[in-house]
Amino acid sequence: MELVLLLALPLVAAALTWVIGMRAPRLLAPVILGFPLAALILLLRLRGAVFDNPGHALGWRMEWLPALGLELSLRLDGLSYLFALLVTGVGLLVILYARYYLARNESAVRFFCLLLLFMAAMLGMVLAANLLLLAVFWELTSILSFLLIGFWSWRADARQGARMALAVTGGGGLALLAGVLLLGHICGSFELSEVLAQAGKVQRHPLYLPMLVLILLAVFTKSAQFPFSFWLPHAMAAPTPVSAYLHSATMVKAGVFLLARLYPVLDGTNGWFYLVSMTGLATLIFGAGMALLQRDLKGLLAYSTISHLGLITLLFGLDTQLSTVAAIFHIINHAVFKASLFMAAGIIDHETGTRDLDRLHGLARYMPHTAVLAIVASLSMAGVPLFNGFLSKEMFFGETLAQGLLGEFNWVIPAAATVAGAMTMAYSLRFIYGVFFGGLHPDVPNYPPHEPPRFMKVPVELLVVICLVVGLVPAYTVGNLLAAASLATLRAPLPPYSLNLWHGVNLPLVMSLVSMAGGSALFFLRRDALRRWQQAIDHLNARDAFESGMRALERFATAVTRWLESGSLQSYLGWMLLALLAVPAYFLADLEALAGSVPAGTLDPMGAAALALLAVLAVAVVVAQGQRLMALVLLSGCGLMVSLAFLRFSAPDLALTQISVEVVTVLLLVLALFYLPRETPERAGGARRARDLVLALGGGTLLAVAAYAVMTRPYDPVSAFYIEQSVPGGGGHNVVNVLLVDFRGFDTMGEICVLLIAGLAVQALLKGMRLPTPTAAPDGLPWTSQAHPLLLAMLARLMLPLTLLVAVFILLRGHNLPGGGFVAALITSVALLLQYVANGVRWTEARIAPDYRAIAGGGILLAGLTGLGSLAFGYPFLTTAFGHFHIPGIGEVELASAMIFDLGVFCTVTGTTLVIVSHLGVRNLPPARAGEDA
């Protein structure tokens, strides 16, 4: 439970920042400080539980997603205790420091909130006892780091640095996820306790190497190991408290934390050794070298951090038990001195207004107190005796000598370590000497610089004191902590080691001395050379490289996207048809025999003739497509042939529908054609046409083959039921109509909805549409002056009542004979539209202009309510009722609720058709016709 509290404290604080920030911004920092302090106290109180029972860890768990193996389980053992201590301790100091660092008008709320959230995420990561949970927190730290680096979001460098950090560490997080999933797959669990117990099984598993690589990728990116180190220097665009906290003490340590955490399962293989130690070594040298050549104060510290992280990684890679202890020891030491150094750098930056090492010198005179603190910390970094850095460095040198992994080339590692030590010495001197001495008048924006506020120095002082105390009496200060942490890491009895300042004169001490001397010599003797090199590499900027890489990626992505999404419908359609045709054809190729067992029917001359004419007309449409009206006429002919075919193949209802739809479609297309160009320029090249032809023929073949194959096979349709039930169950003789209004009335309901929506959509589209009105026919001849020829006008009026009567007839008989609401509706619409054509809009709308849309909507309501009527009788929606009534003198009358449904269909279809066509026709208000008087 304590663990939850530990995790909750910063979270609560983060939530509080919003509240306090709104009400009492002045109290923000003091109140907030209390929470990490409480966490720290809580941790110190838990000390006994961790130190005294080394084999036993405090734990807590709650289910989150057991199906996935993802649990909210926490544990506190020595290793996590050490890191938790670092996170809360340094965090506390950083918050105190940031209180004075932030400018008054900056968003302190956002800053502290993010910082506290980061603290929570980091605590969560070190406390996680479930690998997936660890990955969750891992990625959270990346995200929060991104937000913190980009805190000064109006600065381009901050944005770029943040993005780079996120891309690298976030990408590493994804690798970690994959690695953890593999590890969990191997072990069958994501619980740390179970995973750590299965080292042998893991290392023998074939997936060990990919898993290792993935996890190490995460480690190296997070801990800024070579070659992934480039993001860290640019993360220095963050406010300095962030750099001190995230990029020296905690987040970058997450990588090495993971190495320590998974050490028992992963270590001991060649893969581990080569990957880890070689990367560490390369990073150590590279970081130290680059630190020497930095011009930016924080850049120097950043590369120094990289170098030290390399050192720690190398120690893990050396893979002796003692080296692991040394690594952990160095983690502690590095966190302490590097955090204090960053804070000192922040003070310098804050007070002078620059971080440029070329402009900073002689500050010791102006800020003596700060100078002392910084010098102590940097000496510790350099590994000078009396300070804590020396101790772990000694152990490091010792371990480089103790390993025997490279065989003949064993000497390479200690030699490289010594060289790195020398360089460390050199850049530490550069920091001390360059900033605080060497010149009297610093060339800084805020001149003369002075000491910062008192409390801004307190965190630095505290850390420097720790450096000293640990350096002097290590065993009493960090002995227990180190032991507990090492024990938890190794999960084996600790090797013998002694934490003493003086071990006598031995090889490591000699190496130390050599490196210190070499470093001093390098700095003092080769300063000019260093400066030249620095200028030479000044323009080499990882950020620019990264950004240009990103730009290249963007260009590539844009090119790919443009290529795929060319904006050409033809190409999209081509792809789509290819997929829709080729893939089914591929599977259809398995068909053994095209024809099935049912003999093809004998050739019916009339049907055959209709079909042949249809085919001819279809081809003619294609040939004539250039001349649009002609194509339309031919298409209309096709429609007629289709209806004849329907008629021939026993589908009179379809024929009726097709005939009526055809008329309305022609009206619609002719209306559209008025505005469209009369002719279609054919500009497609031969290749395109060939492609289209292939697709078209392929599609046609597929359709034909499928049709033929199915038609010659036997089947057992459910339709027998409909024929059987049509009269007794549906009350109608026309089975198709009964299907439409009864058996499958729901389809019809949907279908009229589609039509209504189309009507609404058309009306919506026509709103505000502007189209150029052609004033003369394309052949240059004028239009005729007679808008409404007398004969047409008069006869159309006469036709209307007759047509309406026919519509009523078709509507009423639909249930028993071909016809029905839909056809009737189209007849009505055509009759009314004819009035528009024959007599003009003004005439028609003055006499017959109901609200078509309301009729359409009302139709659906009518149909829907008819369907609902059956609910009242306890039957499902759309259950129909019908009865035969005998009325004296008139005879048998059949009434069916399906007829009301059909009436609804009628209303909707009529209303919609009229909405569509009449609105399209009416949209040009009184047209100015140039050809009027011609």
């Binding site: 996935l68 600065r155 992505a557 795929l564 997929a579 068909l591 096979r713 909507g857 609910l871 759309l878």
Partner: protein
């Protein structure tokens, strides 16, 4: 008789019809009717969700004709889940669409209701042709909503969208035709039964038809190479419409799952080779294209469109797995990605107004908008700790061993690309100006060196984003967070839903009580 199953279709339909019949100028009345009908869907969905959670499949025989003769609605866990998702999306989208949105064009509310009708119908129907009808309803409503308010980009995208989908619909009918011609039935469960009894030599026809059907669904789902309509259509639609569209692609995925399980026999069925050999690679390509496309975009709107494409890729890969775990992962991820992409569309609408304001003012990001963006993209990219991550992990864990070398790298690399894309878009969108209360601090030189090309003039006036849209976005993202927090019940639910879906016998028992498999 329990009629509740019917209501998710009937309520929007009647509301839509009523809205059509109402005079168009009574906008306020229209809004009220529309809001009531939409809000009604939420409790309704909850009732149905509870009903389905028991594991019973509810069957509603329309017109009192038993299956396979009449059309039946069937409510199972998956369907209820999709209904609930639709209801939530609908509420948020409608709330975000203020009067201004409705005024941009005509009939917004009626079209909105019909769109819901189509969606709900597609989730409920158990009949193949009826599915086609509902697809058409939701498509035509979506065409209309897409071009709502017109504008060049919308019309251009709309035209492509319409024509591509019209062609797809034709092939939908062809596939239905072949299946009917072979089996003599249209009921999906009955179809499954009949196809299973088909003679061996006729099987290729059924497979080809099934393949075509799946590809038609893939057009709606926007699988490569059938996705071309999506990016521009989504990027050009108004925010609330785009938010509602977030579920459109999922209808395709849903239909693929449903038909494969119920009609084609699921894992041991007819479509295995197609799903494994074709859909899976195409899904990977889609995932890649979504990620690459997201990198190529410069606006949040467009990027979200590609996030949708990428999610479709992952979902289709799950569909192809044909395993209970894979489908469960797909359902969970589907919930997550729908909510967050819809939220992002609303956010984009708030932050990137379609037309520049007349006074030249820029919309600045508030802290709240920044938070919403963060939550949205974290969920959409699949970063921890939100549900997108959980969904991805579920999917990765469910991957069959032979597919791991293909799917895992694809997911991880696309995740990295998406991460890059969202960080770039986010910094470009939200970090170009200091926050409202801040000024550039004096002690930091605010010279040109810090300003890059994305940096608009600091001097321009600024306005805050539309609060209503942000609130709706927050609602959707809160849903996503809730998915994360309640991961356990939700994952249990989807696991059961997937298991139920794959258990064809259960459907046959209730849909066709007389028939035996």
């Amino acid at each position: 008789m329990n009629h509740a199953v019917l209501l998710p279709i009937l309520v929007p339909m009647l509301a839509g019809a009523l809205l059509t019949a109402l005079p168009a100028q009574r906008l306020r009345a229209q809004r009220i009717v529309c809001a009531i009908a939409t809000l009604l869907l939420v409790p309704l969905a909850l009732v149905l969700l509870r009903q389905a959670a028991t594991g019973d499949i509810t069957v509603y025989a329309l017109g009192n004709w038993p299956a396979p003769f009449g059309i039946v609605l069937q409510l199972d866990r998956t369907g209820a889940m999709m209904l609930a998702l639709t209801a939530v999306l609908a509420v948020a989208a409608l709330a975000a669409a203020g009067e201004a949105t409705a005024r941009q064009g005509r009939h917004f509310h009626a079209l909105f209701q019909f769109q819901l009708m189509g969606l709900n119908g597609a989730f409920l129907t158990g009949d193949l042709f009826n599915l086609f009808v509902f697809f058409e309803i939701l498509l035509i409503a979506s065409y209309a909503l897409l071009v709502h308010g017109a504008g060049r980009a919308r019309i251009g995208a709309g035209l492509h969208y319409v024509i591509l989908n019209l062609v797809a619909s034709s092939f939908f009918l062809v596939a239905i035709g072949v299946l009917y011609g072979l089996s003599g039935t249209l009921n999906m469960a009955h179809l499954g039964l009949r196809l299973a009894g088909l003679p061996q030599q006729d099987l290729p026809l059924a497979v080809a038809a099934g393949t075509m059907l799946m590809l038609v669904f893939a057009v709606k789902a926007a699988l490569f190479p059938l996705y071309f309509w999506l990016p521009r259509a989504y990027a050009s639609a108004t925010g609330p419409v785009a938010a509602l569209f977030a579920i459109m692609t999922k209808v395709g995925i849903y239909a693929m799952l449903r038909c494969d399980a119920l009609s084609f026999g699921g894992p041991q069925g007819l479509l295995g080779p197609f799903l494994h050999d074709w859909v899976f690679p195409l899904a990977l390509v889609t995932l890649a294209i979504g990620a690459v496309g997201a990198v190529a975009t410069r606006t949040l709107r467009a990027m979200t469109g590609y996030l949708v494409v990428a999610s479709v890729g992952l979902l289709s890969a799950c569909v192809a797995m044909q395993t209970q775990a894979g489908w469960a992962g797909a359902m969970y991820y589907l919930l997550s990605t729908t909510l967050c992409t819809a939220g992002l569309f609303l956010l984009a609408d708030a932050l990137e107004p379609e037309q520049p304001r007349e006074d030249g003012a820029l919309v600045t990001a508030t802290r709240f908008a920044g938070l919403l963006y963060l939550v949205g993209v974290v969920a959409a990219v699949g970063l921890p700790p939100l549900s997108g991550f959980l969904g991805k992990v579920m999917i990765l864990r469910a991957t069959p061993a032979p597919w791991i070398p293909a799917l895992w790298p694809a997911v991880l690399v696309s995740g990295l690309l998406l991460l890059i894309a969202v960080s770039r878009t986010g910094t470009r969108l939200l970090w170009r100006l200091p926050h409202e209360a801040e000024r550039v601090p004096e002690h930091v030189p605010a010279g040109d060196e810090y300003l890059d090309e994305d940096h608009p003039a600091l001097a321009r006036a600024r306005v805050r984003p539309d609060r209503r849209k942000l609130a709706c976005c927050a609602l959707l993202l809160a849903g996503n967070v809730a998915l994360t927090v309640c991961a356990r019940p939700v994952s249990d639910y989807v696991a059961e839903a997937a298991a139920q879906m794959l258990d064809r016998a259960a459907y046959l028992r209730v849909v066709l009580p007389g028939q035996r498999e």
